[in-house]
Symmetry: C2
Subunit: 202 residues, 2 copies
């Protein structure tokens, strides 16, 4: 909205009318009141004072709105993996990075909860999220592959990344149902169980 100092200059044409973050806020408001499915893109565009066509220049689809800047965050997870000491056991390293990756400033936790409620409870988003999860798994698989000295699309790295993701989703679902639970604790617990093959169980 307010004209930025444009970083170090070199801005040429017309200024963007809004931003991804702004659109996200507007859209989330509508999702909260009407629900995701009942909110049309026309609604979002109207509420943000942009044309419907312009919406699709900020997000590829309505589904993508709820994922914010996930791609950039993944990059930070990737570098976080790179910092893992080589002597740390594999599943332990994964556990620590994942728990770390899901640590949030308390101020944004309510927002994150709303985001995850949408992703994990709205069928259309449950479905679409699979495509985003793939990127997440790739980051994990790359790390595992490096550790095992195999290709990142080999069987083991893929299996481990799939299993890790599954456990994380279960932890998130639990966290949504039990707001009093600490997300990091739940993740830590279940990832530890995964590393033991759920061995404490019969």
């Amino acid at each position: 909205m307010g004209r930025q100092p444009s970083g170090n200059g070199a801005r040429r044409g017309r200024r963007p009318a809004t931003s991804r973050a702004e659109l996200e806020r507007v859209a989330f408001d509508l999702f909260s009141t009407r629900g995701f499915d009942a909110t049309t893109i026309d609604d979002i565009a109207a509420a943000a004072n942009i044309g419907r066509r312009t919406f699709f220049r900020y997000f590829d689809s309505k589904n993508d709105v709820v994922w914010g800047n996930f791609t950039e965050q993944l990059e930070s997870m990737r570098s976080r993996f790179a910092e893992c000491p080589p002597e740390q056991p594999l599943m332990e390293a994964i556990r620590d990075v994942v728990v770390d990756f899901n640590r949030f400033d308390p101020a944004v936790v309510p927002w994150h909860r709303r985001r995850m409620e949408l992703i994990l409870r709205v069928p259309a988003l449950q479905a679409h999220s699979t495509l985003r999860y793939a990127d997440w798994r790739t980051v994990v698989a790359e790390f595992v592959a490096r550790r095992l000295g195999v290709d990142s699309d080999a069987l083991e790295p893929r299996a481990i990344s799939h299993a890790t993701l599954g456990v994380c989703i279960a932890a998130y679902e639990h966290w949504l149902i039990h707001p009093e639970a600490e997300l990091g604790d739940v993740l830590h617990r279940m990832l530890t169980e995964l590393a033991s093959g759920f061995g404490a169980r019969v």
Copy 2:
């Protein structure tokens, strides 16, 4: 097509113009030649000599075509779980049932491969399949819950079912890339690794 003996009678109105299985065959043919995305429902309906509206009386969506009669198959997996001897370790029981569930008559294996290629490689189907996977996981989670004496939507059953599914998908992806591999073997191997927490790895 040929009029059936209608079981034991008591058929009333007009006879169905086709069947789910027939539509599946017609659709798969088109998917093979044009690809999934480039095949419209009008194409399928025209090829099957039915109206577009009628298509939606056989399948809820275009995506659902590739899943055939999955729901009924799930029922058989559920009863297969019920037959597990109580003394068998949990993860071992899951492994055996899942491997068993994915055993197919050699004659239908090529068909099954085409089906899974679609499900695991076409983005639209990757996304949609998440919703079907949920039913699959429920069956596993119910079994785990019974064994652990907890509710079937508790954390552990959900985590284990999620992790199991993940490993199975990885195994399937591997099987698609390596046609010479035996699906049952790959599944067995990875589910065993899961049960050990991928422990043989560093």
